[in-house]
Symmetry: C2
């Protein structure tokens, strides 16, 4: 097709005045419905813990026993002393750990992080909220590239070995935001064993999609707390999770896992800021799932809703752009995102064109520190919320935009394919 | 009675092996029962806001509209733009404001508070959790004395006028913890209008007992946001509240009020740490109360449970220590505490003796910065949780302990009275 032909097709889409959204990694209403039963597990006559404790009153800084037990299994740590239950967002836990690092330092810091200029490693593309926390606290971000098995460890190892001011690395280890890919065993081992100039270096292991498989063909993640213990670096990882994309995105339960020293440090700080997280919501969640097997069963219902959406997205990409040199994309086995790389210098234009035709995409560059994608190539696709029909239309438009942008920028002259 | 006689009576109490607790300002189970209906206001088929928004999903950084409306009235601010809804504890909001002050400064700060040594004024006796926050962040605490109408404003005005490093003051303005007394109109006016060397000085107006009257004979608090606006200091107050002692201590809703500039500053920080507080719990609360009148009606049921407990505590004090010079105490019209002053140098001994006889009291000194009561005189009595019978026994023991301690320390030789 020539540019004229593509543009004429594009105008047809524009005339439909669509309003489609593939930007937000949030659950659809149908997914939320799967957990509605949770709202009936607690009532005015039935609200106590399994040990008959009154969840309505003060007490329980780090969670009720059955919630700690459930999240021990979820986080794959060894004991409930390696778990602290949080409020409704793991983002808050991550923010607060960094904030406390800035004002007080970690349990093994020589001084508060805020006393000097510190840096975090930011594998990119990555999760914009991680980068925002760094930016907010004036932490310098060092981007490193991603391989299909996680961050480029050659780069990471060299950086941390020689720079004491590097205090952390952000990683979504399974079905990563936005790549959808998972850390290989080798990456987990190297992250755990690598020598760091800083003795208070931390891996922020944001396992947000730990159980969010699309089918029985699952990625399996090596246990980083175990590997860190074996390497003598047990205080290195903070493992984060939440039920935001399991039950309710706005009213779930979050948790953090790690060494007893890290959990004691965290609880020591919690004492000053809270009387403990909402225990009633912990009761709702533990009654709803009963145990980790119940939670895994529940996730199959999510998969039944999500997989056709991923399949449709990938099918349109393959149909419209397969065999061309205009784009590459990931084929995740779980999570919420597909990472979509268009020709260098085209991502912003594709997002703008899609918007013109009524398709909202995550802003180009959002997946990089300071929203700066040096190649202007990466776009995050989030298929969870739209219907299959909406995805079909939206992805047709996105693919058309990719072709137009490629010709406009001179990447190709015209398109024989399609 | 002689010391021997008192001690023999004391041994009789000890032999009963009692386990009584007058230490914790927490609601009794009967008080919590008053709000059980709240747990049935949301169900698997009925969970949306009045504007039909889906509370289960992401969104709503500063609260759902009906919660903002309710807390606007509760906080007595003018518009919903002067309110931000929090999680289940106002302690978290206060901690986070100070923490953000340390790392970033207020909306009108020249630099982050943590960049230099800063100080807070701590009217004493006061709330230990306020003092803990200061201690945690290395903020120097300057105790000032309390009058029946609030902090000694002569002291306060002189301090803040001359020291730019003084950035805040903690105040529980109504039915204070632990005095049970409320700020006078004059104190509110002077706090609002006083000249401060620091242009980013803040009044932490922790109105934890705003609606917690014991009867129709209520303290009325002048509106500090109004008076601060009139004085041209609209960014001075942060007004805090929660439903911890209205609905559930562990699963309530908190809020902060203040100028639009302060709220925008707070929301700007919130963006980095949360996807918004639990909206479902906001729906439960707003449905349960309907409006501020509903909340006030609800508080009358609390009063019916609390007033007899306060009355009994005060009756035993009067009966056992009235007319002696051994102690003085406050007679609050609301709140959770009675402030009890024994002879100088006796408070620790009284608390220890009471413990020996099975009565747990708040640690002596807990109501002062660094837990240091310079007179060793103040004891906080918390009558909300025990039954009337338990209060009768506990207070008999406390009064006996006061007498024994007074003779032991040579304050008096023996006691003719009683």
């Amino acid at each position: 097709m020539t540019l004229d032909q593509l543009q004429s097709k594009f105008e047809e889409f524009k005339a439909k005045k669509l309003a489609l959204d593939m930007s937000r990694g949030k659950p659809s209403a149908a997914q939320l419905d799967l957990s509605n039963g949770l709202l009936d597990t607690v009532s005015s006559t039935d609200y106590k813990t399994i040990t008959d404790a009154d969840t309505r009153n003060y007490g329980g800084l780090d969670g009720i026993p059955e919630a700690k037990e459930l999240f021990k299994d979820f986080l794959e740590v060894s004991t409930v002393d390696e778990v602290v239950i949080g409020g409704n967002a793991s983002l808050t836990i991550m923010h607060d750990i960094v904030s406390r690092g800035m004002t007080h330092g970690m349990c093994d810091s020589k001084q508060a992080w805020g006393k000097s200029k510190i840096k975090f490693i930011c594998p990119s593309p990555g999760y914009d909220r991680h980068f925002s926390i760094c930016q907010h606290f004036g932490i310098e971000m060092i981007p490193v590239s991603c391989t299909p098995g996680g961050p480029n460890m050659d780069e990471v190892e060299q950086l941390v070995a020689n720079d004491e001011s590097i205090k952390g690395i952000w990683i979504v280890p399974k079905y990563s935001n936005p790549t959808g890919l998972s850390c290989s065993d080798e990456v987990v081992d190297r992250l755990s064993a690598m020598k760091t100039a800083a003795n208070d270096f931390r891996v922020f292991w944001d396992n947000a999609y730990a159980v969010h498989h699309l089918s029985e063909d699952k990625d399996k993640l090596k246990n980083i707390l175990d590997t860190c213990k074996e390497a003598g670096n047990e205080n290195r990882p903070f493992i984060l999770c939440s039920t935001s994309k399991i039950t309710f995105a706005g009213a779930g339960v979050s948790a953090v896992g790690g060494s007893v020293a890290n959990m004691d440090w965290f609880k020591g700080h919690l004492f000053f800021s809270t009387i403990g997280p909402d225990k009633l919501n912990q009761v709702r969640h533990t009654r709803f799932f009963k145990n980790i097997e119940g939670l895994h069963e529940h996730m199959k219902k999510h998969a039944a809703l999500l997989k056709p959406r991923f399949d449709k997205t990938l099918a349109i990409l393959e149909q419209e752009l397969g065999g061309t040199s205009l784009a590459t994309w990931t084929k995740p086995k779980g999570g919420y995102f597909i990472s979509f790389n268009v020709s260098n210098g085209c991502a912003k234009r594709v997002v703008a064109l899609a918007a013109e035709a009524g398709v909202k995409l995550t802003g180009a560059g959002a997946t990089y520190p300071h929203k700066n994608d040096p190649n202007d190539s990466n776009i995050r696709l989030a298929p969870s919320c739209p219907t299959i029909e909406e995805i079909e239309q939206a992805m047709q438009i996105v693919c058309l935009a990719v072709k137009i942008a490629a010709i406009e920028t001179g990447v190709v002259k015209d398109l024989v394919h399609n």
